[in-house]
Amino acid sequence: MSGGGEAWPALLPEALLLLGAVGGLLLGLWSPQHRQWRVRLLATVACLGSAGAAAVALPDPAQRIFEGTWVVDTATGVVRIVVALGVAVLLWLAAPSLAGHPRETEAYVLMLLGGLGAVALAASGDLLLLVAAYLLASVPLYALAGFAKESTGTEATMKYYLMGAFVGVLLLVGVAALVLASGTTGYSELAALLPGSSPALLAVGAVGVLAGVAFKAGSVPVHFWVPDVTAGTTPPVAAYLTTIPKIGAVAAAFRLLAEPFAALPVDVPLLVAVVAAASMTLGNLAAFAQTDVLRLLAYSTVSQVGYLFMVVAVAARTDLAVPALTIYLAGYAVTNIGAFAAVVAAPAARTITDWATAAARHKWLVVSLVVCLLGLVGTPPTAVFVGKLAVFAATWDGAMVWLVVVAAVNTVASLFYYLRWIAPAFVGVPAAPASAEGPVGTGPRTAAGTAQEVRRVPAVVLHAAAVASLVLGAWAGVWMGVTSGSV
């Protein structure tokens, strides 16, 4: 345990994000309305710098700084890189819908702060810091969700905010229970003291804390905000909300299970495993009937969190867990951003059929979408496939074979609704699609089917994500080697 001045350099990636946010705000104040892209540029540079600094620091041995409250290890390092790069990409994905907006700067700053919150979640080594990180990863996102100030967005924000406030209380109750049980908040001390405490208190504490993390990750049973917010807000923000905080939250859950909850008299891993199974199952079942691409993707992210929570459940039980977590997190971020980019690329298309119509003339768009969606299924050789493989292996190694079977069955089920999107996009839409789709989602915006344009930047993001997914899959060994070398 070290503290004081010598620990500051270890926080360089976070400092860069913060600097980007503050600097961006100031720069935005002094920039005229049509030059606000400068802020975007600055924010991007800050993100890239942060990712670079994190990558340089990745091979360093794990350390706990500021009296053990901030953990810098492989998991944190990977989250730092993925979040920073993800935010950088999402900044550009959101740019077309934000350019010229009166509060453009604020949106970029909020995105940076939310990213910082996600990193803080992952790095927390102390319950109180976890609470602070929870707030930092939540408050900016409430503002982002309702940024467009349209009725659906406002409603989504309201729901998101109320749910977040409610779960925040649960989190605080959980923290209080754990403090009551042990008299301390640091993970290392908790790990030593908790096993001897009262099981009832521990159960309340574990459930409360995990509820907070699960809310940020968007897993069952606190997932209700995911589809509404995703469909209510603008697609780029939806991509942000379903990617960045999830990464931090899953890493936070992983750290909780690996350290303070590792040896409790209460079977926390089983609880997480049940949550994982429920999350993937309900997410998949709910996604079956969706015709709105955003809602479909929203439920798909719920089920993806289920797979991620598998590895959380076995965090303390196997050496394979950390590599599995890192590859799946990276793969998920890349692929999910890619899939949302496909939606952003055809902004007027909200239903599957509309999207297929809009993309009919852009064969490569469809190819990249197929790569991303099949990537989400876990088809080789994409990154998520390697992630899934690693997660399955880790879970089995952690003596939860039943969970592997549930996950395998769910993977097949998920294929079904991804194919519902792929098939019309690939084959083309028959002449009279409207009747088949029914009234759902065929609003006024969908009428212009054939005349829809495809936007440039999101398309590039989609292609890049598809390529990155394949490259990450092919070079998974290198990635996992780097990220597990320092464990």
Binding site: T379, P381, A390, A408, V409, T411, V412, L419, M480
Partner: protein, 527 residues
């Protein structure tokens, strides 16, 4: 060398996709050229391949081996190699894909994408056969499913989308069961590896028979869906019927072999005790598939569905042979080797003959847009070449001496007779039924008064347009008759039949490659 063989088609596919200005005919030309070059390379590999003496293959005697690290954390790598088990199937893949390329020379519907998809599929198939690493095997195995899904849904007819979905879901379930089994092997092995050679040399899960059985169950389930064996075969007729002719040929000729090949390459050498313990199950499932496939095929009113069900029947023989190879207690090593050789031979033979049959059924579709038996008749007069080819393929497929099918089935029965006489005798009934149904089919299609389906409003059936956006007009053939096989169709089908005939007359060429490897498999199972 082997890597070039595997990825050459993929490279050609990338070229095709990257050159949007290429005309349709030129694109197919590139496809033919790439397939031909690939086949030539495989031929060269065959020529340089030394099958070895005695038992050789699976764990040693691997040629053209490449072993690169991929995911060191779980010891999965790019490990490919060739032995007597994989070489014949690699060659079969090369031949059949070239035949499909030639057959598709006049493909009117999005030919560039079509060619690229098939080339992609070829890479996936070759990769699966060459893989010596479980994860690599799985990667390619899954890619074949993805590729075939797009072939069926994009170029199929009838209810293609639903059939493609059914195909994808079924085989994807299978592949995930397979993945779960692979992870079980990985975790059960002493050195924690996905490498097939290492696993076969030192079988995992040595001290837990229950886990062994369960892992074999998972792997067996995955491969059984793909093969397909009764009762997991229900995706097959739909997928075949609605797929384009070349797609059916590849599906039946190559993709089904991935399942049976998996049994020989993975299930038998890596889980020898479990295979011995449960070999009788394989035999029983094989025999049921033989009979079920034969009898259901007999009842079909649709040519393509009938051929599809005979695939179930033929794959049943393969499993019978492989199951008999696991009955260590009741047969000597020689008999078991013969059964294994027969099973391998059957894979190659079935690939050639069924491929030809499906390409021939494509002729029916292109001339009349129906496969129904009662819409066709007396085709021997207007289309003699077609009739001759169909007759040859049918006789080959029913196992007439002189064709490769006979060599295969004869060996399967000879080898299995000692181990399971009852099952073998029951399976022989399957031959009789198959013979009956093929003769019946020939009689319905080729003899009698010439009947050709007519188009137009009186047709009753709706004119089926390809499911794609680019609709090719249904060509209204003149009522005067049908056109016989065209040049490119003949050029693709006849070589397959000639090869089947050659392998029936001169089996030694193939046997000398298969036998050492089969002996090695039997030796490994007998541990």
């Amino acid at each position: 060398m082997l890597t070039v063989v595997i990825f050459l088609p993929l490279l050609a596919a990338a070229v095709l996709l990257a050159a949007p200005r290429l005309g349709g005919r030129a694109a197919i030309g590139v496809w033919v050229a790439a397939s031909a070059a690939d086949l030539a390379l495989i031929g060269w590999m065959w020529w340089r391949f030394d099958p070895g003496e005695g038992a050789s293959g699976v764990v040693d005697g691997l040629a053209y081996e490449v072993d690169l690290q991929w995911i060191p954390t779980v010891d999965a790598g790019y490990h490919v190699g060739v032995d007597g088990l994989s070489l014949p199937l690699l060659a079969l893949t090369g031949v059949l894909f070239l035949a499909c390329a030639i057959y598709s020379l006049r493909e009117p519907d999005r030919p560039r994408t079509y060619a690229a998809l098939f080339l992609f599929l070829q890479t996936a198939c070759l990769g699966t056969f060459a893989s010596l690493d479980l994860i690599l095997f799985f990667v390619f195995f899954d890619l074949t499913i993805v590729g075939m899904y797009f072939v069926i849904s994009g170029w199929g007819h009838g209810n293609a989308r639903a059939s493609a979905l059914k195909f994808f879901l079924y085989t994807f379930i299978g592949s995930l069961a397979l993945l779960v089994g692979f992870i079980g092997l990985f975790l059960g092995s002493d050195e924690r590896t996905f490498d097939m050679v290492a696993l076969a040399a030192n079988p995992p899960l040595a001290d837990s028979p229950v886990a062994r059985g369960l892992v074999l169950l998972a792997i067996g389930l995955g491969l059984a869906v793909k093969t397909p064996l009764f009762p997991f075969h229900t995706w097959l007729p739909d997928a075949h019927t609605d797929a384009p002719a070349a797609g059916s040929a590849v599906l039946a000729g190559i993709l089904l072999k991935l399942g049976t090949y998996g049994f020989v390459r993975i299930a038998m050498p890596i889980l020898p005790e479990a295979w011995q313990r449960w070999a009788m199950v394989a035999v029983v499932v094989g025999v049921i598939s033989v009979l079920w496939g034969a009898f259901v095929a007999l009842a079909q009113t649709d040519v393509k569905r009938m051929i599809a069900y005979t695939s179930v029947n033929h794959m049943g023989y393969v499993l019978l042979g492989l199951g008999a190879a696991g009955l260590v207690a009741s047969a000597d090593e020689g008999a078991r080797t013969v059964a294994t050789v027969g099973a391998m031979y059957q894979m190659v033979s079935h690939g050639l003959l069924t491929g030809a049959l499906f390409l021939l059924s494509g002729w029916l579709w292109s001339r009349g847009h129906t496969y129904a038996f009662d819409r066709w008749g007396g085709l021997a007069r207007p289309a003699p070449v077609f009739a001759a080819c169909l007759a040859v393929a049918a006789f080959g497929s029913l196992g007439l001496p002189g064709f490769s099918g006979f060599v295969a089935e004869f060996q399967v029965f000879t080898g299995a007779l000692q181990a399971t006489p009852v099952a073998t005798l029951i399976a022989v009934v399957g031959i009789l039924v198959t013979a009956g149904l093929f003769l019946l089919a020939l009689q319905r299609l080729l003899t009698g008064d010439t009947t050709v389906p007519s188009h137009g409003p009186a047709d009753g059936g709706e004119p089926v347009a390809p499911a794609g956006g680019t609709v090719t007009a249904v060509r209204a053939e003149p009522m005067t008759g049908v056109r016989d096989l065209r040049g490119h169709e003949t050029a693709s089908i006849v070589p397959l039949l000639v090869l089947a005939l050659l392998l029936g007359i001169l089996p030694g060429v193939l046997l000398e490659v298969i036998e050492p490897a089969a002996a090695a498999v039997v030796e490994l199972v007998g541990r």
